[in-house]
């Protein structure tokens, strides 16, 4: 079977999208039934919420986000970074606000929860983004060291 259409490839490319979809479904289901994690519902929700949000942020930005939108146009252009980052940020923020809104239907949320989540998300988003950029620069540095090794060996030969 052509790997292009296999399930392996689907999961390989979309696993983070899948995680986020499962997470969203979980949150909705958890909010609807409200009895699965009755006593620690809110704590549990917060923990899962931020873990997934932080894990998915850089990955969404760099690969799954492009796949999600099937936008090769954005991927092949120079403004990739400056377009995809704000778009992803807005996308994630809307998703978070939507989940919070849905959550509010089934449970009494603390006052100012929207603002708190906006600030927390923005803070972690910037942190994760800076981390991703630093890792990227470190990899470039390592590649250049290896390339100079190769070039110097070639000159000797």
């Amino acid at each position: 079977m052509n790997k292009r259409y296999s399930w392996d490839r689907f999961f390989e490319g979309n696993k983070f999208v899948l995680i986020c979809v499962i997470f969203t479904l979980f949150v909705i289901a958890e909010s609807v039934t409200n009895s699965i994690f009755d006593t620690v519902a809110y704590l549990n929700f917060e923990f899962v919420f931020w873990t997934i949000a932080l894990l998915s942020a850089p990955v969404f930005t760099f690969s799954a986000f492009q796949r999600l939108w099937q936008s090769n146009y954005i991927a092949e252009r120079d403004y990739l970074f400056w377009v995809s980052f704000p778009l992803h940020y807005l996308y994630s923020l809307v998703l978070i606000m939507l989940i919070t809104f849905l959550h509010g239907f089934f449970e009494q949320l603390p006052q100012g929860v929207y603002l708190t989540r906006f600030i927390t998300f923005t803070f972690f988003y910037v942190l994760v983004t800076i981390g991703a950029i630093v890792l990227d620069l470190m990899q470039t540095e390592k590649d250049n060291k290896n390339l100079s090794k190769i070039q110097s060996k070639l000159k000797i030969q």
């Binding site: 760099f62 120079d78 403004y79 990739l80 590649d143 250049n144 100079s148 190769i150």
Partner: protein
């Protein structure tokens, strides 16, 4: 195994003469090295055919349903799919860096990140080629592997 090497500036072309009693794996390996060392690509340019040594190729680009073969200061056409070129050149340190470009790792001078966080590879002739994010990891691994192999 005895090894004889003679420098002869009168020769038109380099050649290797292998004499063996039996075709052992070691002898076969020598054949393989010799074949790999001078892998020739049959290219075209303005209706004429050219034999281009793969080691002289900087990168191969898929443009208008054909492969453009770039050397230090020339461009040739090769009427073959990029996939086929990728398979043919895989053992010769060529690696894909974007959907339509194969690059010779030996000819990459450096890599850099732009302001837009697009990574580019600077070739030995100063040309810059964009590296797709999707292929970054593979290129880094190939560079690391080659550096280890050569040290």
């Amino acid at each position: 195994m005895k090894l004889t090497a003679r420098k002869d500036i009168a020769l038109d072309d380099d050649y290797v003469d292998v004499r063996y009693r039996e075709l052992t794996p070691e002898i076969h390996q020598i054949f393989q090295i010799c074949e790999d060392a001078g892998y020739i690509l049959l290219c075209e340019k303005e209706g004429a055919q050219y034999r281009i040594d793969a080691n002289d190729v900087l990168y191969v680009e898929w443009v208008d349903s054909r492969c453009c073969v770039y050397t230090k200061d020339d461009v040739f056409i090769m009427p073959a799919p990029l996939k086929q070129m990728e398979e043919t050149l895989a053992g010769r340190h060529f690696i894909r860096i974007s959907r339509n470009v194969l690059v010779n790792v030996f000819k990459v001078q450096s890599v850099s990140n732009g302001l837009n966080f697009r990574r580019t590879a600077e070739m030995v002739n100063g040309e810059k080629i964009i590296i797709s994010r999707h292929y970054r990891g593979a290129l880094s691994k190939a560079i690391e592997h080659l550096a280890e192999e050569m040290s």
